[in-house]
Symmetry: C2
Subunit: 224 residues, 2 copies
């Protein structure tokens, strides 16, 4: 349908295209994102990316110049535009900590629906120490998103809205661990449990239940 399928579709004819012949540059970004997420940025060769997209490696040089610029384009044109709105949303979403956490979880879910490669790329290239996106993402999103959340949780704690024992900053870590992390590992969980879906809706309702009351049985509290 979109002039260019992911796999074995015959490539675009050589020569200058007539009018709008499909967004090859954008397609290359998508293919590169998938490869980067799957094998890691450093281990994903331009040859492999080009092959997966049905073009020659020279096309990547034509559209992006070099590998580093390709990575930057991916972050600038796919990652940031989708993450920035979430940051703004979370600055004022929800009243209670639980509502704020819910807004975060839903926001992440929405982004993942649009950019399925994001969770894996995040844990590979941002979370870990030698990650290639570390410095870049750090300057662009990190200063804002965790800070905003942590500050709002801290305010809630001062207002007595946060259970004792919960650390406002570590709560941000926990939230990411309960949302991005399961999404990044979706394939392995499905394989481990023989689940067909591990669909995001099921994960979402489970996570919200866990955040809501933890593992405590609401009806019969075990006496102790």
């Amino acid at each position: 349908m979109p002039a260019r399928a992911t796999n074995k579709t015959r490539r675009r004819r050589v020569g200058r295209p007539a009018g709008d012949d499909g967004d090859l540059r954008g397609h290359l970004l998508d293919v590169a994102a998938a490869q980067f997420a799957c094998t890691g940025i450093a281990a994903a060769s331009l040859r492999t990316i080009a092959q997966a997209a049905g073009v020659t490696p020279a096309m990547l040089h034509y559209y992006f110049g070099n590998k580093d610029a390709l990575v930057r384009a991916l972050v600038g044109e796919r990652l940031l535009p989708n993450v920035r709105p979430l940051v703004e949303t979370l600055a004022s979403a929800g009243e209670t900590p639980l509502e704020l956490a819910q807004a975060f979880a839903q926001g992440v879910s929405g982004i993942v629906a649009k950019l399925p490669w994001l969770p894996a790329l995040w844990v590979r290239e941002v979370l870990c120490e030698g990650g290639a996106l570390r410095e870049f993402v750090f300057r662009e999103v990190m200063p804002s998103l965790p800070q905003v959340l942590a500050q709002r949780f801290e305010a809630a704690r001062r207002a007595g809205q946060l259970a004792p024992g919960i650390d406002p900053r570590l709560l941000v870590v926990s939230l990411v661990g309960l949302t991005l992390f399961p999404a990044a590992g979706a394939p392995i969980w499905q394989k481990a449990f023989g689940m067909p879906g591990l669909d995001m809706p099921a994960l979402m309702s489970h996570t919200l239940a866990l955040l809501g009351h933890g593992l405590a049985t609401p009806s019969t509290e075990t006496p102790r």
Copy 2:
């Protein structure tokens, strides 16, 4: 000092060593583990590993044969021996789901204390789709650990010990996301929040509080 420091220490003298000249093979495993965790297995070159250990790449060939065998040795001699006991412990630890979760968290904490590179290696090479340890670890640990936990949570659910809305299998995912994941991202959390430590004890008590009663405000559920 164990005969061989991590960085710039002068290398062992050439020639056959006298008696016990330190465990170079084991040291190479440790250095390789750190490099693998930092940049990913595929992106960590044998040259870099050898350089970090103060030896020539030929030593890696001498002790392990090739890169694949090095990875297998690392898994077989460092990873599995530390993970297997945890699986056995968790088969019978704790009575309630909360206690079981606590046992898991403490077990992970203990392993991470011994193998600080494990969390990052896990998220890079096991969690994600193109991970190099995927198949190997899957055969060795995955079938048991998640299954054991999920089955025990399922039994607790049938006994009415698990809050409604909590999925026994997804709870396993949540637990990993609340323990291994924060450990893997420790550097970035510390940097994001300007925390000195993100020490495991603080993380542990926070996580256990979250698992215990979630984000429920103390006003609605105040024992005593």
